[in-house]
């Protein structure tokens, strides 16, 4: 008697399961309805600006390997000076509470492609990307940000064109350049701000500036070369102070204290 009842119950349960499962499956895989866009409406939902880590900075010592950059003096090549600047800038930024990622820590055998440098910066999503350059011409420090036209509105597509990836960040890059200019002037170093297209600055999705260090002309007319260690240290201290000030103004610390990668800002 019991076995007969249990077999009936089992059969009923099986029937119920067989009836319910296809219904759920049908609900879960509803046929996609093509979304027809009404004429005149917005083409797609704008993608929000990319998030960045407020305590992370990417340094790019320009050139390297077979690409020596400009020849500053008989023995000093630009690639060596930019590497020295990056090695001095790293502890100065760490002292300000930043985590620092560099595109190169030594002189590689081959030159680093532009796409590789941009890839490192874009992958890490830092609050600032600083491209380091040096030259024997001009005077003071040249602070450069992208010459791409500033975006009047948010990008309408989710994909940023590679050649124009910097466009949504131009306003922030301009603010970063101004912070650097002010910090350099406070350190009594002549600073020139201008816009230029310097690879890979147009391909970066972070606030980005190129800092080109050139000989310092003193009031007495004497020229201090870019190889001068104390001059390099003054420039490095000014950059670190400027990036810290940029972080304070543009990405204030969250109310709940968090450090390093935990402090994600939008």
């Amino acid at each position: 008697m019991t076995s007969k009842r249990s077999s009936i119950l089992t059969a009923v349960m099986l029937l119920l399961i067989l009836a319910v499962v296809p219904m759920q499956a049908r609900q879960g895989t509803s046929t996609p309805v093509p979304q027809v866009q009404a004429p005149g409406s917005a083409p797609a939902t704008p993608r929000p600006a990319p998030a960045f880590y407020r305590n992370l900075v990417v340094l790019d010592p320009a050139h390297g390997g077979r690409d020596s950059g400009s020849q500053i003096s008989g023995t000093a090549a630009e690639k060596d000076i930019t590497l020295t600047l990056a090695q001095k800038l790293r502890p100065a930024l760490v002292a300000q509470g930043f985590t620092v990622v560099t595109t190169r820590d030594s002189d590689p055998a081959d030159e680093l492609p532009t796409e590789f440098r941009a890839g490192i910066a874009n992958h890490n999503r830092p609050i600032a990307c600083v491209l380091l350059h040096a030259t024997g011409s001009g005077a003071g420090v040249h602070v450069v940000y992208s010459s791409l036209p500033e975006a009047k509105e948010k990008p309408s597509t989710a994909v940023l064109p590679w050649e124009r990836a910097q466009v949504p960040m131009i306003a922030m890059s301009s603010r970063l350049a101004n912070e650097l200019g002010l910090a350099l002037e406070n350190a009594h170093i002549q600073a020139l701000l201008f816009r230029a297209s310097v690879p890979p600055i147009d391909n970066l999705i972070c606030p980005a500036v190129a800092v080109e260090v050139s000989p310092l002309k003193s009031d007495s007319g004497k020229s201090v070369p870019v190889t001068d260690s104390s001059y390099q240290q003054r420039v490095v201290d000014a950059i670190a102070a400027a990036v810290a000030s940029f972080r304070t103004d543009n990405a204030p610390a969250p109310s709940q204290s968090s450090a390093g990668h935990a402090g994600v800002s939008q």
């Binding site: 603010r175 230029a196 690879p199 050139s214």
Partner: protein, 209 residues
């Protein structure tokens, strides 16, 4: 037994031969360099009329990063392409003067200038193609400021002379090139605009969101 004076004479003569050989070798090399340089000096087509034109050169200065328009009278060919080339040759030749504020090496600078036709397709832009000489790019001072000033100087000068054109593309020896001398990008067209702008002065207000 060879006498001592003959041995001394022998070595003196050998030394003279070597010195004369080295002197001749050096002379040959210098003559070769001179001949090679002469090969690059392709003459421009003679202008039909020698009447001078009022043109504006956008002159760069490395010290302050400024480009200033300077009016000048220059004899130019009638043909538009030749006129553009002569204009740029004249501009870049001024930078090789000893007192230049934006010193560049002397020598051939512009190979050709091509102007796009008037009837551009819909959505297209009237473009000027500037084909720079390889030696000009190779010997150009390397640096962001100095390279960008050269480009802005060319752009401003072309814009003043050919306002109907909208953009300029740069090539080197007929090929596209990533940068002029390692810094300023050449792989995209530049809008032909007035480039007589001074560098921005950093300000406190511009640092705030």
């Amino acid at each position: 037994m060879i006498p001592r004076y003959q041995r001394i004479m022998f070595w003196i003569l050998i030394s003279c031969i070597l010195l004369i050989g080295a002197f001749l070798l050096r002379g040959c090399r210098e003559a070769h360099k001179r001949l090679t340089a002469l090969n690059d000096a392709t003459p421009l087509a003679a202008p039909i009329t020698t009447a001078t034109e009022d043109v504006t050169f956008y002159m760069a200065s490395d010290a302050d990063g400024v480009i200033r328009p300077v009016r000048s009278e220059v004899g130019l060919p009638q043909d538009a392409s030749l006129k553009a080339r002569a204009l740029l040759e004249n501009l870049l030749a001024q930078y090789s003067q000893p007192d230049s504020a934006h010193p560049l090496q002397s020598g051939p600078s512009v190979d050709d200038v091509f102007l796009s036709a008037e009837d551009v397709p819909a959505g297209g832009k009237r473009t000027i193609f500037v084909n720079l000489h390889g030696s000009f790019a190779d010997n150009h001072p390397s640096g962001i400021e100095v390279e960008q000033l050269t480009l802005n100087s060319i752009i401003g000068t072309l814009h003043a002379a050919f306002p109907e054109f909208e953009e300029v593309r740069f090539m080197v020896d007929g090929q596209s090139r990533a940068t002029l001398a390692g810094h300023a990008s050449l792989d995209h067209p530049y809008a032909l605009t007035d480039t007589s702008l001074s560098p921005t002065t950093p300000s406190e207000a511009a640092t705030l969101p």
